[in-house]
């Protein structure tokens, strides 16, 4: 990714930022929405039942949020859908009004939380740039002066008098992004925008972000992309159920976020909807689960815990011995590890009778990078020969945490380096 090359590790300037003045100060922010249980959309309904009490369900979107963002900080806000992160952003952007609590800001805020919302598709790029510039608080004259810079940055010189409805979505995003960068707001609130445009444009955006950081701009980014948060943000805030779950180091916040996500995903109801278990005429799979150290089923595990899988089988026919072959593949269908174990014995399989149950508990050292993994299983007749059962993707699970990396596994390595004595300067 081109972005990675230009933006240096945030760790370096983190200390300086922590000492900076606050740019955003939020204290004990509350916001709830009243959701009518029966929406009254017409005057007639109001007129017919003027005194019937209107019933509301109170939805607490934010429940006592306090935090501060320092000047020049790249601050991430993460959370699951419905956690309140967008509400928080809209309160910061003065789109919603808070029920209680205060928000204080130092400096000028860019008034958009999403790219291109101020665009009128029936107008040309030129008109839109001027309109949006004014929306951001410039005078029309200032905006006209900056028009060329905006258009150049977006690489849309040939299309400046084309109506936006004839633009491709990529062109629109480029225009919106370069417009936002050209208006010198002190604080930017951004709702998921980074992964836009082609590689060369991403490069430009990365450069622009870099210069904005250098210029002391404060950026608040709401996103689902954990890698973005971990790579760019100085600090991050995890919000869950309208409260702050964790605030601080982006890595820790990222791990906590993934954990919350997968906990919610692996609720028992979903498991019940699994299809019928595969069968063959000699061995039947009863159950196969990824489990934690206490033996309870899980769907995901952190990268510092071993992969434990529990498999229950039933023999349908007598056999002199069976081997189980297990293949672990990642989301790109690359085989990561393959091994076979004899069923029932230490180093050779034991005979089974029809109707007998077998169980396998296997534990694999976790050297896996964060990804989606699949465990497939084949059962072989050791002495009679032939495949008794094959179940592709028997168990699938997620591994989370750790640094995002290019490899398939994480290996231990010991490296020494030194600079040889050479000619003195």
């Amino acid at each position: 990714m081109s972005l990675e090359k230009t933006i240096t590790s945030p760790a370096a300037d983190r200390a300086a930022i922590a000492a900076a003045q606050p740019a955003i100060l939020v204290e004990d922010l509350h916001k709830s929405f009243r959701i009518p249980t029966q929406r009254v959309d017409s005057l007639k309904e109001r007129a017919v039942h003027p005194f019937s009490p209107r019933e509301y369900r109170e939805l607490r979107a934010l429940d006592g949020i306090s935090f501060e963002v320092h000047q020049g900080e790249f601050f991430g806000i993460v959370g699951r859908n419905g956690s309140g992160k967008s509400t928080l952003l809209k309160l910061l952007a003065s789109i919603y009004r808070a029920d209680a609590g205060t928000i204080r800001m130092a400096g000028r805020l860019a008034p958009f939380i999403e790219l291109g919302v101020g665009f009128n598709l029936d107008l040309t790029a030129r008109d839109n740039v001027v309109l949006n510039g004014v929306m951001m608080g410039l005078t029309p004259q200032e905006t006209r002066k900056r028009l060329d810079a905006v258009i150049d940055f977006a690489e849309l010189g040939d299309f400046v008098d084309l109506k936006l409805k004839n633009y491709s979505s990529g062109m629109l995003v480029r225009l919106a992004f370069s417009l936002m960068l050209e208006v010198d707001a002190d604080i930017l609130l951004i709702d998921e925008v980074l992964a836009v445009g082609d590689a060369s444009f991403q490069q430009k955006c990365a450069d622009a972000f870099q210069s904005m950081k250098a210029a002391g701009k404060t950026i608040v980014l709401v996103t689902h992309e954990m890698s973005t948060v971990e790579e760019y943000c100085h600090r991050a805030l995890l919000i869950s159920g309208g409260r702050i779950e964790l605030i601080g180091d982006p890595g820790a916040v990222g791990r906590k976020y993934l954990q919350l996500n997968f906990e919610a995903e692996s609720n028992p109801e979903e498991d019940a909807t699994a299809g019928p278990l595969p069968e063959s005429d000699s061995v039947r799979l009863l159950d196969a689960q990824l489990v934690d150290e206490t033996g309870s089923p899980i769907k995901a595990l952190p990268n510092d815990q071993p992969v434990r899988v529990r498999i229950e089988l039933e023999a349908l026919r007598e056999s002199t011995g069976l081997h189980a072959g297990l293949i672990l593949t990642n989301s790109e269908e690359i085989g990561v590890y393959e091994y076979a174990i004899p069923i029932g014995g230490e180093d050779k399989p034991m005979p089974v009778r029809a109707g007998q149950r077998m169980s396998i508990v296997t534990e694999i050292e976790n050297r896996l990078v964060a990804d989606h993994y699949f465990l497939s299983m084949g059962i072989n007749r050791t002495y009679e020969g032939g495949l008794a059962l094959y179940i592709p993707n028997m168990v699938d699970f997620l591994v989370f945490g750790g640094k995002k990396s290019r490899g398939v596994v994480v290996l231990d390595q010991q490296t020494r380096s030194k600079i040889e004595d050479g000619p003195q300067a």
């Binding site: 005057l43 910061l92 952007a93 789109i95 800001m105 008109d127 004014v134 002391g216």
Partner: protein, 285 residues
């Protein structure tokens, strides 16, 4: 990219409002949006400005035919009935089109309202301002008619800006109130088209106040601020020697008080409604 200012001071963010974001930005936005919209409508289509003329002129043609040729009734005693009719139609068209456009304006700008920090009041006001530009152009046609029918200019023409200010305030207030009501109650749009239609006939446009010689009738008619405008415009613009002024028709200044109360009430109500609802529009949409 400009250099960083000296450390900015923390200021409390007060949330969305009708005017939020500074008055210069407010007026810049209002002006720019109105002008851009006006340009888009009238220079974006092939016949451009002609389209905006066709509607009032057609209405004028039909009504003129019906009321002078078929009924032959209301034009008696009016020296320049066709000019008066056209002026009335142009004035009412401004009011009707601007308010009708304003009703749905806030809801139509959903993206802007829900995703940007935007002074909400700009939205209905810019539709009214766009309507005002259009009104200005239509007045040129009225002027041509005035000369064609041999109406002599007089110093009272200079009072016309007063009428425009008054009309703009009334139209903007109605537009503001309706546009936020529409966010909550979608049938406001339908109701308003009917009400506007009724208003058209309740306002002395096709006829003049004195067509029924009853003082009570005059007084009732002149509760409607638009009726006062139409009556007064006839005196000021058409220069008719025997046309009664609004005060005269009602039998004294005191009887124009109800119209003043209605005017102030409508303006107050519109502003109050908008101010009350503005912070919540984004949530209700």
């Amino acid at each position: 990219m400009s250099e960083v200012d000296a450390t900015p001071v923390l200021e409390e963010v007060r949330g969305p409002s009708a005017l939020g974001g500074g008055s210069r930005r407010f007026f810049d936005l209002l002006w720019l949006i109105s002008v851009t919209e006006f340009r888009r409508v009238y220079f974006g289509t092939v016949l451009g400005y002609l389209w905006s003329l066709i509607r009032p002129l057609m209405l004028f043609g039909v009504l003129l035919f019906v009321f002078t040729q078929v009924f032959r009734a209301t034009s008696k005693g009016v020296e320049h009935y066709p000019v008066l009719l056209l002026l009335g139609i142009v004035i009412f068209t401004f009011f009707q089109e601007s308010t009708t456009n304003a009703v749905t304006s806030v809801a139509a700008q959903e993206g802007v309202v829900r995703k940007t920090q935007f002074p909400r009041l700009v939205i209905p006001l810019s539709t009214v301002l766009t309507g005002l530009f259009n009104f200005g152009l239509n007045l040129i046609i009225v002027l041509i008619f005035l000369f064609a029918f041999g109406v002599d200019p007089s110093w009272t023409w200079l009072l016309f800006p007063l009428v425009v200010v008054f009309l703009f305030a009334l139209t903007a207030a109605v537009g503001m109130g309706l546009s936020v009501l529409y966010v909550r109650f979608r049938d406001v749009a339908i109701i308003w088209t009917v009400v506007a239609q009724v208003l058209f006939y309740a306002t002395p446009i096709l006829y003049t106040v004195e067509f029924k010689e009853s003082l009570t009738f005059h007084r009732l008619m002149l509760i409607n601020p638009l009726a006062v405008v139409m009556t007064q415009v006839r005196v000021w613009i058409l220069n008719e020697s025997d046309a009664p002024s609004a005060a005269h028709a009602a039998g004294g200044w005191i009887w124009l008080l109800p119209a003043a109360v209605v005017f102030v009430g409508v303006c107050g109500l519109g502003a109050w409604l908008f101010g009350r609802e503005a912070p919540r529009i984004a949530e209700d949409l």
